[in-house]
Symmetry: C2
Subunit: 320 residues, 2 copies
């Protein structure tokens, strides 16, 4: 939960006047998202989300994120559409920080995940992957394998504070993944953060994706692997093969998934687990006391990593 | 900023189905309010606020607060209207806590207060005082003079950690106020927390009051005194007599303000300053590390208290 920037009524009114969306009649800081400050604003006409980008989002990446959302929305993919001001610009400044207004996407994120939610996710993810193929901009995934070593170096010395032996696990896994990581998988635009918080449903039908601020170009199958981790484990740590099967089957009905991609899934799932383990560990070790956002538990991803280390073939996920 | 209770999509959908307001299409935790968890929910038809009452609000007081809002809204006073379920009940339970849905009140709270805002506040406050006269329920103000001694006892020993000499100031002031506090002023329902956060404006016109969870029966002039403290001091600590004059003049055009009430204002302003000084001091000394809400500065109210101690007659406020 987070609102890091306090916007006065006067600043807000002047800001919104730059768009042709009517006068603001209410503005509520939203207690979600850890990276940016988000406000639900209502004008005389409709609802919008105002985002003020805080320091963890690089300003030079914003044209990619906003351009991607615009591109996807224009192809009919359900996601927020950045609103351009009367000057044609979608990205401007508020309180001396980058800021943008996007359309409001209705829907609720699901807490109790059922297999049909995973099917909906798989289908929409594949549609997004296809829709992104005509997007011209490119942004490397700085949280893929090349980005893990710096995170390891920044956390290894204190990892034992979180769990004895954790640094050794991280170091060995990183050595392995740096050696084995595939460079030949089909790829394009991925969302890269498709956790349940960022996927909305209405009446059990997927209504869209939000929060594209980790989007980048990477292997499509890596996104599937992130979603296996984020959607197919139960609270007790057990892997739910039914959910994984429904997700992948729905994905494949939209976009072919090659044997090579399938074969690489266990390795990609290990990489995805290591990525979230490292970033959560970093955030926990560097969590300022009294900060609003509660750090997420890195050890949830240690458990997932160990699970995937024991998977030799995708058949162990129930996938074939 | 606060959302203390996490509501799942399933719990929310089932809860809202008890009202005839359509299906929920979105729900955002709101980063405001320190006492309760608030959510802005949108149904197919319109927006509402869902509040889950956390432990600082006594369950037995909720019928008073909700009944008062309903009473005021029905007299035409602009405030949220509690929505009754199809069973006729406005107060029910969600996540094992008391919860209610109220209508959405448009407007923005003002950051930079101008004298005309104070005039709008004075007028609306007087209308609310009159509208409350036909409200049958009664709730004593447990944060008036009788409630200050327990707060003093709970904070005096550590007050010096916040400022040397603070305990002595508090003790002497409390002795004085307990001796001099008037019992004969006209009273009725007061909001008791009319800070700028709880007062909405649209296009410089007051659009309503929110957050009635300190409302109680007390002297009307005490509410005016709270507002003198909350609205008429500048950020540098200076008292703005123009704002005070505009507020009181607008109030008096709606509800007569007797000479006795006017004469008592300096004393009531001292009491109001002591009340917020004590509660803020208590909250600061008992602030759990890592809690979401940042404690407010008690010393802002020490400075206001010292100012009022130097005021012998209301003329010093520019009031007559």
């Amino acid at each position: 939960m987070a609102v890091y920037t306090d916007v006065s009524d006067g600043e807000l009114t002047a800001f919104v006047a730059q768009y042709g969306i009517g006068a603001v009649i209410s503005c509520k800081g939203i207690a979600e998202g850890v990276e940016n400050s988000n406000f639900l604003i209502q004008t005389e006409r409709e609802s919008f989300i105002l985002t003020i980008y805080e320091k963890r989002v690089a300003r030079e990446d914003l044209p990619y994120f906003l351009g991607l959302m615009e591109h996807l929305a224009q192809t009919g993919f359900p996601c927020p559409l950045p609103v351009r001001g009367t000057d044609g610009e979608a990205l401007r400044e508020l309180c001396d920080k980058p800021a943008a207004i996007v359309t409001f996407l209705p829907g609720l994120s699901v807490r109790r995940i059922h297999p049909h939610h995973c099917a909906g996710l798989g289908e929409a993810m594949a549609h997004m992957h296809l829709a992104g193929e005509s997007f011209a901009m490119h942004r490397p995934n700085n949280l893929s394998v090349a980005g893990w070593r710096p995170l390891y170096d920044a956390t290894a010395a204190r990892a034992h504070e979180v769990k004895p032996g954790l640094a050794e696990l991280l170091g060995e896994e990183l050595d392995f993944l740096e050696r084995e990581w595939p460079g030949d998988l089909p790829g394009g635009v991925i969302h890269a953060d498709l956790f349940p918080d960022n996927v909305f449903f209405r009446n059990d039908s997927l209504s869209g994706f939000i929060d594209f601020y980790f989007a980048c170009n990477d292997a499509f199958a890596y996104e599937v692997a992130i979603c296996l981790n984020a959607w197919c484990f139960e609270a007790d740590g057990g892997f739910n093969a039914t959910k994984a099967r429904r997700m992948l089957a729905a994905y494949r009905r939209v976009r072919p998934f090659s044997d090579r991609e399938l074969e690489m899934l266990p390795l990609l799932a290990r990489g995805s687990a290591l990525r979230f383990l490292l970033t959560r560990l970093y955030d926990l070790l560097n969590h300022p006391p009294g900060a609003f956002a509660q750090p997420k538990d890195p050890l949830e991803y240690e458990s997932k990593l160990r699970f995937h280390q024991g998977v030799a073939r995708p058949g162990a996920y129930g996938l074939d």
